[in-house]
Symmetry: D3
Subunit: 236 residues, 6 copies
């Protein structure tokens, strides 16, 4: 990831990123059915660090398992790098929690950029008040031991029907979360930044009364020049 | 639609309208599983203008299709009449967007009364800040080309398991959206207005401590007279 | 329920209660897929009083059935004891309402502690403004007669895949609702109160930068003493 | 039920019965999503005797509960009258069994007319070889104690989204199961028998090459007379 | 469709056709979740002729609507060309039937090549004994009027999440149904025929003990020559 | 696994095994929603060898990937030990295939004991005619590349909501598939064998007219002795 890429990704939307990915034939990079616990936070941007859950077998998931310092859930929370996003494969099952307020607090304090599960968080009202972006399907109070056993760290996983490889760049906004393949992150960030300038122009024109026909996409002959002047004036 | 009908429908709830429809044997007129992006807006009222999506075939849905000014999605946005509600049949599939912020802005500027999809909108945080009522299942960042192809304009459709005929009167409030068959709109609006006066009375009585038994429905002998006096005093 | 139990349950989270229940082998006590209409209210605490719906048969569920003062829905609303929580088995079907604003207002005025359905409420924007905690799956404007017939009062039921026996202690917070078997309520309340003190301590330590390893659970030798001093200082 | 009604219902289809019910405004009497374990058996006909399951609480559903001779599941199996159909409300949850081969064998030996669950049976390959009609959603090996607790006998219930009152007449064929309100059984049986004669005539005409237009329904002037002659010749 | 194409498509599998379509970027052409009523019939092959259902509004779908000879359901059955496949968009809703035995018999007699719905058929045991291939989700006894209103004939539709345009070539086997865009049918049929010869060879080799590595796909140097000799010997 | 264990497991049902597991607190060992392609085959018994799929990313899953001899799907098929059962985690997604007829044939020839996916197989009619037990959710013609990427071999996985560890003993019958933790296999096999003898006795008694009360479970005083004599006579 180029130094500018993170900065750029903080300022574009997941919708714009999805379009840039779609142009490259990637149609499944938006994590289905997750939402931000606090939609007022800035964008979440960082490379994926993953945690995989399997269904819990009762004899292996008593409350005592967490006394093991090497338990994968606790290990993932302590080892997820600062600046990364912890992405959890909970098999889209929100009947028990993927993690709770204390672990998410620890991630925040450690400088982790955000956390995503396709299941649910417990202590969700507390997490919603933290300064770390967190995304889930719905609140879920039962301890993860009820249904989930952490089994794999930093493997390729699925999250919300999206493929996630460690190091992929994960971006979240108030709408949801998109996963950008690592090798495309710089070019997608640059392209989305350009697209955003044009979309802001279009939005302004539309609010001023112009039709979308010929403007979006810009097939009318006058749009390119008008946009160039608008852009220059706006200093973007 | 009589001149008064729109005014009346701005002041009643979808719940009351559903009851009036139920009395006429219509049980499926509430669009299932959609919610307002901005629940603080006034009611949405207008005749239905419809757009039907079919599943997208990849070779027909490249990014270039929107350069066609006659593309049904864009055409629907430019031709939906002022005062109407654009109702989109997205087959209840929110894995890709039905439309985004720019198109919804254009609808707003054109004076369209609202927009409903049984799928999802992209740019949903932006749409939530617009002054046009919009209803969907959940946010969805991927472009509609990913899964949806606009194929039919102003046909009878289904939306959230509800039958929608062009010209049916669509009403939305903070709870959801109901579809009133066109020929019933005036009488339903009038009846719901009367029902609302009585429900407001009942609600006030209940908050003052009266039992619902005998009051709602008003089987006790004293209710009719007491309500008449309350109504007169309230000038309704 | 001991006099202190209600007070204790007002001050603990459903997440903590789920863990205490999990330790006793109870894994299905969190009502799946319900949320508070007003998440800003204090906890909901009270013994369960139940209402069971079956699918509505059309000839038995005309609008006139509510003129019967003994109709189970109305009867339940009038007879649910003050301080209790009305728990409704709607078969997880939110396509029609379980109840509406007037009935929930009546419950509030009667001193009922809260109301839960695994279906949906109508008049949900109104209910969200009442001072009584209410939990449901999603808003649903159609009258309950459309799909639900009230058939049993204060029977053992299921609600959101959770077993609910009359008299079980129901606790709701901003995350959701948990059902505590009656005979365990006092010990669970006491244990959860103790757990909450420790979790508050842990949360404070984590925000101050301490790792969760060795702290949560407290396997490091120094934690017990440090916690005891913290607790004494905090007067808890 | 008149003496002839059972005989008539043995010879008509659930499809024809659904149409007769539809004509009376009853649209939800076909049990959704159940199929016969042995589709080669004759029709199942009998009055409903019901069993209701609630979600199992672990401390109440150890393997020892069946040593209680009054356990509702065992009691229902021993008390369901000969000639009746045992209809089980399993909340459409087939993750654990509703009953198994031994209990269904006992029902058969006792002369019970059939058994229906909207969940699943265990020992389903064995049950499929018995001479008693049985209908379920899908096979399910786990004991019912895993998820289901039998709690109510011969109450009104829901089964596959259909209302079932004790004494309603239950009819199953190779397609599925329909529930006829008790008071309508005789007239529905008679009407369906007449409809079946006409449908057999129509089917024969259609296979011989006649269009359905004007024939089904019989709006062409010649159909009534031709059918009357066909019927007389067929001795029906 | 070239004269040979139908013959070729009678002899290949839907699995092979899906692979040929996948190579061209078409990933959604297999109709999801339908199965043959009689899996022993030969392949179904023919151009699509479509029928679209919308949700039924009660006042428009009384039993008398079929007295109208122009009712779209009946019209579609009488006008679907011989050799074509009638494909029905039932919105994947099998709670009521898409059609029944008499209409499917009429289609058969008229020489229609097959019928597909993403809902369910009624009289399914009868249809399973007819010589016309029919595919659905599951049996469904209630008349289509209960939930479906036929509204559009030979429009582009969705069926089981697959886009279907009139004239697309529809192929069914014992596994399911695939939709081939019309302009690709000849080349896909030819390619799939070639693929089938090779797959038959591979299958024979595998059953004789050869590893799939190097054989399937044929990256080992010896495979091409060996296959050529096998093919010559087999006369294919 | 003791030498006798496989033999014992060939002769007991998944239902009986589920009960033995339930007695040990294991409630999630029955793979949900899979069925045998050929229910007439003998039991499937063997240690689990696993394959994990993640969602497919389009740029990594072109048709050419199978030219790589190390592709995990092909590698798993060539390396799964004789006598083992290949268990595939397809995330319960049957919209594309997990494997097809050629690979399953290869598994059979290699002596693999069976194959299970919680997705679907393609070429399912062919697989149903093979002598190897195979279990899936439903037929699915699209190549696995459409939605699945094989990513992990012989890791702990989930399959149909069941935890599966490599080496767990997998047993399938005509009802479905159960997973026995490796360390319990011998004792569960022995216990289930004993249970089966008693259940056969009970079934015979029930068919002869005896009530289940007191017999199943055997709380009546006479059962033990009678069963002992029956068993001796039967030589079991």
């Amino acid at each position: 990831m180029l130094p500018d890429t993170r900065r750029q990704l903080m300022a574009v939307s997941t919708a714009t990123l999805c379009t840039a990915l779609f142009k490259r034939g990637l149609r499944h990079q938006f994590i289905q059915n997750v939402r931000p616990l606090n939609p007022a936070l800035p964008n979440m941007v960082g490379p994926a660090y993953t945690l995989r859950y399997m269904p819990a077998r009762e004899d292996l998931n008593g409350i005592a398992v967490f006394t093991d310092r090497a338990h994968p859930q606790r290990k993932a929370v302590e080892e997820c790098p600062a600046g990364a996003v912890l992405v959890i494969d909970s098999r889209q099952d929100a009947r028990a929690a993927s993690a709770g307020g204390i672990l998410v607090s620890r991630l925040m304090v450690r400088g982790v950029a955000g956390v995503v599960t396709d299941g649910g968080f417990r202590d969700s009202p507390d997490i919603a008040r933290l300064a770390i972006p967190a995304y889930h399907q719905r609140p879920s109070a039962p301890t993860n031991l009820t249904l989930h056993q952490a089994i794999g760290i930093n493997e390729p996983i699925g999250c919300g029907d999206t493929p996630v490889f460690p190091g992929d760049i994960v971006v979240g906004d108030a709408e949801g979360v998109v996963v950008i393949p690592a090798h495309l992150a710089d070019e997608i960030a640059a392209e989305a930044t350009e697209m955003t300038v044009f979309e802001d122009y279009v939005q302004e024109q539309v609010l001023a009364g112009r039709s979308v026909l010929g403007l979006y996409p810009p097939t009318d002959a006058d749009v390119a020049g008008h946009f160039a002047r608008w852009r220059a004036a706006a200093g973007r």
